[in-house]
Amino acid sequence: MFAPTTRVLIVDDMSTMRKIVGKTCKELGFSDLTEAADGTLAWEALQNAPAPIGLIISDWNMPNCTGIDLLKRVRADSRFKGVPFILVTAEAEQHQVIEAVKAGVDQYVVKPFTKDDLKTKLESVYKKYAKS
């Protein structure tokens, strides 16, 4: 199913949210988790990571650097080519989803999500990247 050794970066300004996403990831087989409280800190974590990050799960609305800006930065940087990016956010307006898709997001999860919601989206991302 999932590669349990994949290093996951969880980005959200709410600590409870990071806890929830982390817990769900653990239940789905990921054991190597790291967190950041906003897009800027996430960018630092990406660059200074002792081991390469294999999956980014990020919120949209955060101070300093939003999730969509983080996504654009990641997609613009060849060092992080091929890293799956999932947005987990309460924002669900059509124009926002379109913007995220255009910016290269792999999956879009709307808060509040159930465990199954996240699991299904993670699985589809995994399948997509497993093919390539």
Binding site: M14, T16, M17, K19, I20, K23, T24, A90, K111, P112, F113, T114, K115, D116
Partner: protein, 464 residues
């Protein structure tokens, strides 16, 4: 006989101001749980088909996080957010944050009760998901229906066929359904388009644009939205637009009604009389009655009185909780003093939202509790100084009270309600509270069918 399965409701958060047991459906069991964020995050929650949350006292957790935590523990249950303070209530935002519904108490206790009842019903009878509720009022006797109808019997917890497709529903059956307050019958979803075609056909034959129940539902939803908008902190430019839209909606329907004689109109209004009291129904009903009464009195701008009707009690939601929860007859002098401020509070709320209202409307709202003998509030004005719009509003208010179903009370027909008010106020003009001249005119025009003075002169002109 199968007894209905238990409906488990889990209630998060403690409060002592609202008695939930008053609105719980039969056969439901509630379990009160304190908020424990860690336990919630771990998913250690008691099972339940429905979850009710009161705002947590720990303000550090956002509503979005709360919704997320609860959704993890209850992936397929309904989650309702209940607030007791107007400041906490912004329905759209609450629902956007991931709750299934939000209710402001005590004002929306009827709506809460109805939602809980529906949830319990659908939970204990899963086959209901294949059926759609349809109002009995929209069915006409002795017409062949090309759809089946079923009624829910709570005692047996079963859906029972009441009418078969291809057969007409007899007048007796319909009467029985109406009297047994079965208000709703169920039509199989596969036959729903047949029902809609039938309604359209029947309505076009009766010269109506939409069914009375649809119109009422639309009105009530619009009123509820309008009142909710008045709670939101940022100014909504289109709040007046909404109240105007409500009145235009009302105007269209009343215009259509006006093609008939007043007594026929009153008969149609009986559909308003079969339901239980609710804050929004009251606002909506009073608005409807105020408009019809104003037309009957030959007023030039009946829609203004209708707008006053929609807004007239909005200020009550700004009352302190202890006052809101007490019956007027049981209030202490201190509470009464606060309660008597609600007309002014209504004006304040509206002014704060910068809703532009004609002076006639604000006066009507401010004066609707004034009484002709000077015993009213806030100013204790006597009859000659109370504007006619306020007098009509006061009568519409009392009329709705008398004609609405309330527990332990018989409701009156429109004729009986008017007769009752005339009797109570007609003995001595010095001590009359409601204007008996207006009441007598209303009775003549609405019940006996006499024409208004205006209609005598220009029979073809629409009041709009």
């Amino acid at each position: 006989m199968q007894s209905p399965s238990v409906f488990n409701i889990v209630v998060f958060g403690t409060q002592s101001e609202f008695d939930l047991t008053k609105v719980l459906p039969e056969g439901s069991v509630i379990q009160n749980v304190n908020y424990d964020i860690d336990k919630l995050a771990e998913g250690e929650v008691p099972p339940g088909e429905l979850v009710i949350c009161f705002p947590p006292s720990d303000k550090s957790i956002s509503m979005l996080e709360l919704a997320q935590l609860l959704r993890m523990g209850y992936p397929s249950s309904l989650i309702f957010y209940l607030v007791l303070r107007r400041e906490d209530f912004e329905k759209k935002r609450i629902i956007k944050n991931g709750f299934d519904n939000a209710f402001l108490l005590p004002w929306e206790s009827s709506e809460l009760q109805q939602s809980l009842g529906e949830a319990a019903l659908y939970s204990r009878l899963p086959e209901l998901k294949d059926y759609a509720p349809v109002k009995v009022l929209d069915l006409v006797a002795e017409k062949v229906l090309d759809f089946g109808t079923k009624v829910y019997l709570p005692v047996n917890n079963k859906l029972v066929t009441i009418g078969r497709s291809g057969e007409p529903l007899s007048g007796d059956k319909l009467r029985m359904l109406n009297e047994g307050s079965y208000g709703t019958v169920f039509v199989h979803k596969s036959e729903l388009s047949n029902f809609h075609d039938y309604t359209k056909k029947v309505l076009s034959e009766m010269g109506q644009i939409q069914s009375e129940t649809e119109r009422q539902e639309k009105m009530r939803v619009a009123v509820r939205e309008l009142v909710s908008d008045l709670f939101v902190d940022d100014v909504q430019e289109n709040t007046f637009g909404k109240s105007k839209a409500i009145v235009e909606e009302l105007s269209k329907t009343v215009s259509a009604m006006m093609k008939e004689q007043y007594p026929v109109i009153m008969k149609k209004m009986e559909s308003l009389l079969n339901e239980e009291y609710s804050f929004y129904r009251h606002l909506s009903n009073v608005s409807t009655y105020a408009m019809i009464f104003s037309m009957a009195m030959g007023l030039e701008k009946p829609q203004e009185v209708a707008v006053a009707g929609v807004l007239h009690d909005v200020g009550k939601t700004a009352l302190p909780l202890e006052v809101a929860n007490t019956e007027e007859s049981q209030m202490s002098p201190h509470a009464l003093e606060a309660y008597h401020k609600h007309p002014q509070l209504t004006i304040d709320v509206i002014k704060m939202k910068r809703v532009p209202l004609h002076e006639r409307i604000t006066k009507a709202i401010l004066q609707h509790h004034e009484r002709c003998d000077g015993s009213g509030y806030p100013a204790g004005l006597n009859g000659s100084r109370i504007c006619v719009e306020a007098k009509i509003l006061a009568i519409a208010d009392e009329f709705d009270y008398l004609t609405t179903l309330k527990p332990g009370q018989t409701k009156m027909t429109p004729k009986d309600a008017l007769d009752h008010m005339i009797k109570e106020n007609g003995a001595n003009p010095v001590v009359m509270k409601l204007d008996v001249n207006i009441l007598v005119t209303l009775r003549e025009v609405l019940i006996e069918g006499k024409l208004t003075k205006k209609e005598d002169k220009n029979a073809k002109q629409s009041p709009f």
